[in-house]
């Protein structure tokens, strides 16, 4: 904590006392009255969605085929931690894991029993699969009219391409969204893709389309629950992964309609803002930000261009809000930033705020950190972002949870994952009253 505290320090202390995630334990859980069946298959969107609900205390039952969900094998470079893929390792959080072969009638019958007692059912099978099994919404709602039946797929539950059997993948959804097309390095003049294979449309690193689909579906489920609280009525929900990610694009579709403009890659620049870009440094890169003219002027001053460019005469940011101007000024900016380390530039902005010509106005300069540097940053650690979970099976695991902090019903990660079928005995006893003899019979028949 810095020595000189702000005027609102008392407020900061109150919030911290009331929402520090490490003190969540005894507080109430917002969704601990809910039972969620997560049938999602080969879909991080599904697993991510049910994680959101499980962190709030919902009893999420992951129903996997006897060999386990394929998602368990989707792990970077094939790396396993105690036999578990890293993506699934952190997305099994707070969930119960059962196996069930839905290709067998016996398995489907058990599923009907669970669905009759559930509040939410989440599935990500290709369209028609649940219907073919006799487990579609129209069928299940007959016994459970309050059921919220949530489907996440590549193309959605209706529309001309809904029957396209294409499996749902994050990278393909990013490609379809229009966002990947407009993100990536610009090709340097007189070069081509053969010489600069990195100067192409570039996707976001994380499974961001899947995360968007899962998070939007979580909001949909919660809105549907509110409606059900008022009316008792359940319903079916439909998310298409591409659409969910596309919804985060603020303008390319409007720009195209109004101006016939196809948004192209601008590398580290921005179509709507200046000064607002990534710039290379001698040891990496920095973000430079200043939405006001004075902040851009301050940066020109730091570059030593005050007199040469007659910066003091400028009276509007407008002349800089087009690509032509940005491509004219950016090489000058980059030439300057390349001569310094990221740390030097960050320091320069702080010093300028104290003694610069326009002080206290300065430019926002932030280093582009690697994940390792981000993870070592005191601020996030103090706020509990990377607090490890001690899992009874998997030991210490850093599973970053959702990052809202709440005073009454904070979220928590109690355990991170379970092996395939780990909770069969508990869940089938609790919901269906099956004892050990019945369970071993079902296991022998291949139903579990």
């Amino acid at each position: 904590m810095s020595a000189k505290r702000p005027k609102w320090a008392e407020w900061a202390d109150w919030v911290r006392e009331n929402d520090d995630p490490r003190m969540a334990g005894p507080k109430p859980e917002a969704l601990d009255d809910l039972v969620v069946l997560d049938l999602s298959s080969q879909s991080y969107a599904g697993a991510y969605c049910s994680s959101m609900l499980a962190e709030f205390g919902a009893e999420v039952i992951r129903v996997e085929p006897p060999q386990g969900d394929f998602l368990r094998t989707c792990t970077p470079y094939g790396l396993l931690h105690q036999g578990e893929g890293l993506n699934y390792l952190t997305e099994g959080r707070n969930k119960y894991h059962v196996t069930l072969d839905l290709n067998l009638e016996e398995g489907r019958d058990i599923l009907r029993g669970l669905a009759a007692q559930a509040d939410v059912l989440l599935e990500t099978f290709p369209l028609g699969t649940m219907d073919t099994w006799g487990l579609g919404y129209e069928e299940l709602k007959k016994t459970n009219p309050g059921l919220i039946f949530a489907s996440i797929t590549a193309h959605g539950q209706f529309g001309p391409e809904a029957n396209d059997p294409m499996p749902d993948y994050d990278n393909v959804a990013q490609a379809k969204s229009g966002i990947q097309y407009a993100t990536g390095a610009m090709l340097p003049p007189e070069e081509d893709v053969a010489t600069c294979p990195w100067a192409v449309s570039t996707k976001a690193g994380p499974w961001i389309a899947w995360c968007s689909a899962g998070t939007f579906m979580a909001t949909g489920i919660l809105a549907a629950l509110h409606w059900r609280c008022r009316t008792g009525q359940g319903q079916a929900l439909d998310v298409a992964t591409t659409e969910a990610y596309m919804r985060l694009d603020n303008y390319t579709h409007i720009w195209f309609q109004g101006g016939g403009h196809v948004t192209e890659r601008v590398g580290g620049l921005d179509n709507a803002l200046w000064l607002y870009c990534f710039a290379p440094t001698s040891d990496g890169g920095v973000f430079l930000g200043g939405l006001r003219l004075e902040m851009w002027q301050a940066f020109c001053d730091m570059m030593g261009k005050w007199d040469e460019w007659e910066v003091g005469e400028w009276d509007s940011l407008s002349p800089f809000l087009n690509q032509e101007a940005q491509l004219k000024y950016f090489p000058e900016v980059a030439k300057f930033t390349r001569q310094h380390t990221s740390e030097e530039l960050v320091r320069m902005a702080v010093d300028y705020s104290q003694s610069g010509r326009l002080a206290p106005i300065t430019t926002v300069i932030a280093p582009i950190l690697s994940p390792k540097e981000a993870m070592e940053d005191t601020n996030w650690n103090e706020r509990g972002v990377f607090a490890p979970t001690q899992d009874p099976i998997y030991g210490r695991v850093v599973a970053v949870q959702a990052q809202h902090k709440m005073t009454e019903t904070p979220i928590r990660t109690k355990w991170v994952c379970r092996p395939v079928g780990y909770d069969n005995a508990f869940v089938y006893r609790k919901y269906l009253g099956y004892g050990p003899a019945h369970l071993s019979q079902l296991r022998e028949q291949g139903v579990l």
Binding site: V15, L89, P160, L222, W227, H261, V385
Partner: protein, 455 residues
């Protein structure tokens, strides 16, 4: 059958109720991160009142696309501010603060994305509002949250800084290259979305107990949540994960490739049947049995994946994108060209699903925009109207919610507690507005034509 559930969904949207109908949201929000969340609630039927300080209001109104504006309005502002009522209220003035408190007493949710301490300075912080309305769900969004070293240093933050700070940009690049910025305001949009999960969970808690609560969220912390395996990987290996360009290192094969026709195609085929289909399509079914590739975990390894991706790259490079897409359909793997805005806008599927919906707005006319991306069979979300000028609905909000008399209104305008738009693009109505249509309460009653929106 799914078909029975969704038949005529788009056509019947307007005839069904909205899931959040009856809820009232007050927002004091600016630039992308702020207003997006209340917009989603309003698309699901909540009554969202956008409080802006007159006459300039939300700074997002300033943002153009390289100078392009849609009927003078910022395309970004138009996208992030849907189905809202617009109140120009000066929170610097005690009278403005008093009105805010009166509205807060009748609200369910309050959202802002100002810096810590600002709402306290306006005398409308959580402690004050919770005394008036203990059921209130009060959300504050910003760069670093309400406590911790960066928040206390009063560091400014924005989407670009957040992409840089979180490790996201470093990761979303090709090895050895200066990171590129995501074209969308990803940290802002995703942080706004994650915040609504908290708000709606808090609503469920309130439905059960009557209790409200306080919520804070940082967009940098939120985007870190999406980086799933990165954190356990770092914790276990102590190594930075390498930037991998378009390659998905958790799914194999999954990458973006250059086609013969100059376009790019993204492809994924990880599950056994999909991978066998891809090998078949490539005319090399034996690859699916190759010991380096047969099993997904083995295929993902660094000694194998690049070899396989090299083989696929060579195959794709000799074919146009269309052929790869057709083969994907035929053989059961996933592939799509990397679509640009014109291709997205020509997509008939998303139009017919009502996702790329046609807005029919009294002020901004007809244009296509994204529907809320969760289709709900009983309670469909729906975009109903577009953005409005600063303070456009003052009379309606003040009369309907507080029954303010004309005399009081005049006094409030007189002292500047209430105000309307500045005469600047994005703040004022579009140039072709008739000066009358779409005002809810104070239309010119002397002119029936004008009242009907005719010129």
């Amino acid at each position: 059958m799914a078909e029975a559930t969704w038949r005529d969904y788009v056509r019947n949207k307007g005839k069904k109720p909205s899931p959040l109908t009856g809820l009232r949201v007050l927002e004091v929000c600016t630039i992308v991160f702020g207003p997006s969340g209340p917009s989603w609630l309003a698309e699901m039927g909540a009554e969202a009142i956008k409080v802006e300080i007159p006459p300039l209001g939300d700074l997002e109104r300033d943002l153009s696309c390289s100078g392009f504006r849609f009927k003078e309005q910022s395309p970004l502002f138009l996208h992030d501010n849907i189905n809202k009522y617009y109140l120009g209220l000066d929170l610097h003035k005690p009278e403005g603060q008093e009105i805010f408190c009166q509205l807060a007493a009748k609200a369910d949710i309050i959202e802002n994305n100002l810096r810590p301490g600002v709402m306290e300075r306006f005398n409308v912080d959580y402690h004050k509002i919770a005394k008036i309305n203990p059921g209130i769900i009060y959300l504050e969004k910003n760069g670093f949250g309400q406590w911790g070293p960066y928040a206390e240093e009063n560091r400014p933050s924005n989407d670009g800084a957040s992409q840089a700070f979180s490790g996201l940009a470093w990761l979303s690049t090709f090895p050895g290259q200066t990171p590129v910025k995501q074209m969308i305001y990803l940290s802002d949009m995703y942080g706004a979305l994650l915040a609504e999960v908290a708000v709606l969970s808090a609503l469920h808690h309130r439905d059960r107990t009557g209790k409200g609560q306080y919520i804070e969220i940082s967009q940098t912390e939120s985007i870190m949540r999406t980086m799933s395996w990165i954190w356990p990987y770092l914790d276990i290996t102590r190594q930075n994960p390498a930037p991998a360009g378009n390659r998905d290192v958790s799914v194999c094969p999954a990458d973006t490739f250059c086609c013969a026709d100059g376009s790019m195609v993204s492809l994924a085929a990880a599950a056994p049947v999909e991978f066998a289909g891809l090998c078949e399509a490539m005319g090399h079914p034996e690859l699916a049995r190759d010991e380096r590739f047969a099993d997904h975990l083995t295929r993902l390894k660094e000694e194998n994946a690049p070899i396989l991706l090299g083989i696929i790259a060579e195959w794709v490079a000799q074919r146009p994108a269309q052929e790869i897409e057709n083969l994907a359909r035929e053989h059961g793997f996933a592939a799509s060209r990397v679509r640009d805005a014109s291709q997205v806008m020509a997509d008939q599927h998303i139009r017919q699903r009502g996702f790329m919906t046609q807005v029919d707005d009294a002020m901004y006319g007809q244009y296509r925009d994204h529907e809320f991306p969760v289709m709900m069979s009983a309670t469909p979300p729906q975009k109903k109207w577009a953005a409005r000028p600063v303070g456009f609905d003052n009379e309606y909000v003040m009369k309907k919610l507080l029954n303010t008399s004309d005399k009081e209104l005049k006094a409030l305008y007189g002292i500047g507690a209430l105000g309307k738009w500045a005469d600047r693009p994005g703040r004022r109505p579009p140039p072709d507005w008739d000066g009358n249509s779409d005002l809810i309460l104070s239309r010119d009653q002397a002119s029936p034509q004008a009242a009907r929106g005719e010129k």
